[in-house]
């Protein structure tokens, strides 16, 4: 493997890792809201979360460009207030990956939150736990399967993210050129299938790693299942 390829792998890991970790709290919050909330605009939030799944990635990238580009309202605000620019930067790639991964993460987490036995939360309240503490000590850990599934899905989706990324932050070596963009580049050159295959295998191995890690973590937290089967 060439040094350039190592750089691409490292960048993909950084972009996907940051995207998933930074999105976890937001995703869990949204999942919680959708699982538990009863308010008028709920279906709209639900639809909004699903948006990046429904739209072709290129459109999502284009919307990100309009909003977070140097001339976009959100982009200008980020630049003025935090000195953060996203365009052509790896941070922008991470944002694109995060947006694309969000619906998958939210759904998985929501499923697990809905499966939490709410009577246990009531029991915790009688033992003196505030709603926030119940959330942190009961709901959150009981939703571990969904958290892990969400993280794995989000990571895999981020590793494979292409359309929104290239549309939003272009294809800049060392900054936004993740594995899928490199694969796209290699595909542009006829007869370059070995590079494509190698990069694809690397992407698969990275996700396999995430998959294994999540299985191990799930087994650690596996109080609920396995064991004796009555």
């Amino acid at each position: 493997m060439t040094g350039e390829e190592w750089e691409i792998i490292a960048l993909s890991l950084k972009v996907s890792g940051v995207a998933v970790l930074a999105t976890m709290p937001l995703a869990f919050g949204l999942a919680w809201l959708l699982a538990r909330g009863r308010f008028p605009g709920k279906v709209l939030i639900d639809a909004l979360v699903h948006l990046p799944l429904v739209l072709p990635p290129v459109v999502t990238g284009w919307l990100l460009l309009i909003a977070f580009g140097a001339n976009g309202p959100a982009g200008r605000w980020l630049a003025d207030w935090f000195g953060v620019t996203l365009m052509f930067r790896w941070t922008g790639a991470a944002l694109a990956a995060a947006v694309m991964a969000l619906p998958l993460m939210v759904r998985a987490m929501r499923l697990s939150i809905e499966a939490v036995d709410r009577r246990l939360e009531g029991a915790a309240r009688t033992l003196g736990a505030s709603p926030l503490r119940v959330f942190l000590s009961i709901t959150l850990p009981l939703a571990t399967p969904g958290l892990l599934a969400g993280a794995v899905l989000g990571f895999a989706r981020s590793i494979g993210e292409f359309g929104a990324t290239i549309t939003f932050v272009s294809n800049i070596p060392g900054e936004t050129r993740t594995i899928p963009l490199a694969i796209y580049g290699a595909l542009q050159i006829p007869g370059n299938e070995t590079v494509v295959t190698r990069l694809a295998i690397i992407a698969v191995l990275l996700s396999l790693g995430a998959l294994l890690a999540s299985e191990i973590l799930a087994r650690r937290a596996g109080y609920g299942k396995g064991g004796h089967v009555l």
Partner: protein, 241 residues
Amino acid sequence: LLALAPARVAARGPLVLAAASLQEAMTDAADVWAARRHEKPVLSFAGSSALARQIEAGAPADLFVSADEEWMDYVAGKGLIRPGSRAPFLSNRLVLIAPAGSRANLTIGRGFPLARALGTGRLAMADPDAVPAGKYGAAALTSLGVWDGVKGKVARAENVRAALALVERGEAPFGIVYATDAAASRKVRIVGTFPPRSHPPITYPIALLKTSTNRDAEAFRRFLLSREGKAIFARRGFAVR
């Protein structure tokens, strides 16, 4: 950090946004340029439409090489290129291809029997409504009077490379691609070249962007447009002007 940022921009080569089909040739050119003790240009390859929209959104880039005039017009229309820096850069030829093993024999000319040769098969080409290569292809077939017969048999691919892949795999008996693409693939055979007058001239325009801050940008543009620069592209099959 803020103090370092401008320094970093200066230490870096110009950022070139180029149509994806230029990938190999432009990389060659950048390597030659870098070998001359210049900072190596940073190359970003994507579809011309994506690149144009990034420029419109305020992307801090230096040079834009579009695969057609239309998207360069778009960017120019928004006042985003440096006046006087736009120049026709490269050209290409359009060819009819078939899988390497195919024995199909067709001579491109007015009313040539492409529809009959296709039979129930499909003609692979880039989307004639959207992608430059497809538009040129449709124009060529129209002027040769065969478009009406084949337009219902077109498999519209996302780009030229995807059309090429369909022919390489034998999924489509014929395809229309750029000569550069056909030359690069050993799995297809060129059946014929479309007469240059059968379609609007294929040009890849180049321009310096308004936002450019890199002091090497103009020099690199000149290098690309120089005889030496164009020779690099000619070696990859592009026609140069």
